[in-house]
């Protein structure tokens, strides 16, 4: 049977890992490729790079990182951040990304999702949704790192982008991101039950139980986390063993 996926995420700025693994045996903790290799060796099911570089000029460093990672890590790689044009997607895929995550550009121009899916196939188009709770059962999408409101309902948007061809949703709770209080499970479940594509839960993981909750209560089929893995609090292997013990199907090889 299919297994749920555990996806460590690396935030990359100007070619360097911003929040990275704090492993003593890493010679260069800011080197994204070195970090990717650690996660590869630990049995991560996928890797995610999120480029938070502000300037367009420094985009080339991201492409180098993707190339370097794809040369050494033979595992699925999702890359997001600043993807605005069909050319951006093509460059990332040719560099070695398997999936590309689109966020702001989809909101600015919703037909971009359909264009991208037609060109490259739904299987490589991920739409990232950053949502904040408005009231119980209602979430709105925000852009620009949670600073800009859009007036768009998160569940409606998830349905709309999947109808346009998105093959996966990367769902982040802006309320929980960075809090280590656990996923917004109501949000995760509302979106996961509303769409027919896989949903990755993100934002708020602080314990291994949170990962289990994202699957069992949130109905996500993948969980993404950054800090619990980066700061060496837990390894991917520990996370998988914990999930398996909780009855969640995981890959242990």
């Amino acid at each position: 049977m299919l297994k749920i996926r555990i996806i460590p995420c690396l935030d990359v700025k100007d070619g360097r890992v911003v929040k990275g693994v704090n492993f003593v045996d890493l010679i260069d903790a800011g080197d994204p490729v070195a970090q990717a290799r650690v996660y590869d060796g630990e049995g991560a099911d996928e890797l995610c790079f999120l480029d938070i570089t502000a300037s367009v000029e420094n985009r080339d460093t991201l492409y180098d990182i993707v190339r370097g990672t794809a040369e050494q890590c033979f595992m699925p790689l999702t890359v997001g951040g600043g993807v605005r044009r069909v050319e951006d997607i093509r460059t990332l895929l040719l560099a070695g990304a398997d999936k590309v995550s689109i966020n702001t550009a989809a909101i600015a121009r919703p037909e971009f999702v359909a264009e991208a899916a037609r060109k490259f196939g739904s299987q490589c188009i991920v739409v990232a949704i950053d949502a904040k709770a408005l009231s119980p059962g209602k979430w709105e999408i925000f852009t620009h790192g949670g600073r800009r409101r859009t007036g768009i309902d998160a569940v409606d948007w998830a349905k709309r982008v999947t109808a346009s061809g998105a093959g996966e949703i990367l769902l982040t709770s802006m309320d929980r991101d960075g809090t280590r209080e656990g996923f917004d499970l109501a949000l995760t479940r509302a979106v996961a039950d509303a769409v027919t594509v896989p949903v990755i839960a993100s934002g708020g993981v602080g314990t291994l139980d949170h990962l289990v909750e994202g699957i069992v209560e949130g109905h996500a089929t993948a969980v993404l986390a950054a800090s619990i893995f980066h700061f060496g609090i837990h390894s991917i292997r520990q996370a998988k063993a914990h999930m398996k013990a909780a009855g969640v199907p995981v890959r242990l090889e």
Binding site: R5, M75, C124, G167, D193, T196, P198
Partner: protein, 226 residues
């Protein structure tokens, strides 16, 4: 050995090439990515990757003048070992039913149809569209464990039933001849994971993205002497 990965504008050829380089690290093997049909003449092994939609990939392949004919000659005519990956595997079928009906290479008796699996077992419920639905999420995305058919095809040497490989697809192959199926996976029922006949094999999964198990399959393919 001289491995040619066919470039017809589809897929992440770089990942495939790097995986072959890694898998072949110990042997004197040349790996090249080529859009030149003539390159197939000198090839010892041919790889057809592919991601996206069947029709787009078929169009892409037809867009390379002489490539389909060169593949026919090298693979069917001369019997060179051939590996199709994902849509590259699907293209081996007679017919594709994704966005209309399209003709494939016709090397495997079968057709490409949408995954419309239903899951009635409790263990799978995390992959259901919703708890009150028996439909599974599409695409079939992630790591699934193989059920390798006995006796194992040479490309599965040392890869036992239960090993995981990475899938990402919304369409599946239905084979007319059961003997062409060399591995399956379970996703709301059995799906074909790999096909094989004579000198041709195809994997629905991505060996180039399946870590050690994928590299093992690639190494086996390079060692294969059909």
């Amino acid at each position: 050995m001289n491995v040619v990965i066919v470039d017809y504008g589809s897929g992440n050829l770089r990942s495939a090439a790097k995986a072959f380089e890694r898998a072949a690290a110990d042997t004197a093997t040349a790996i090249s990515v080529s859009a030149d049909p003539k390159a197939l003449k000198a090839a010892s092994h041919i790889v057809l990757p592919g991601v996206g939609a069947f029709a787009d990939c078929k169009r892409g392949l037809e867009g390379v003048a002489g490539m389909t004919e060169a593949l026919e000659e090298a693979v069917i005519g001369e019997g060179k070992p051939f590996l199709g990956i994902c849509v590259g595997m699907q293209l081996m079928a007679k017919t594709g039913r994704e966005h209309g009906v399209h003709q494939g290479l016709g090397w495997i008796e079968g057709e490409i149809v949408p995954i419309e699996a239903r899951d009635t077992s409790l263990v799978h419920q995390v992959f259901r569209v919703a708890l009150d639905s028996e439909k599974v999420k599409i695409p079939h995305m992630g790591w699934n464990d193989l059920e390798v058919r006995d006796p194992p095809h040479p490309v599965f040497a040392g890869i036992e039933t239960g090993r995981h490989v990475y899938f990402v697809h919304g369409y599946r192959i239905l084979c007319e001849r059961p003997g062409d199926v060399i591995a399956e996976v379970d996703y709301g029922g059995p799906l074909v994971a790999a096909v094989g006949r004579d000198n041709i094999v195809g994997t629905q999964f991505h060996p180039e993205k399946s870590q050690a198990t994928g590299l093992q399959l690639i190494a086996n393919f390079l060692d294969w002497r059909p």
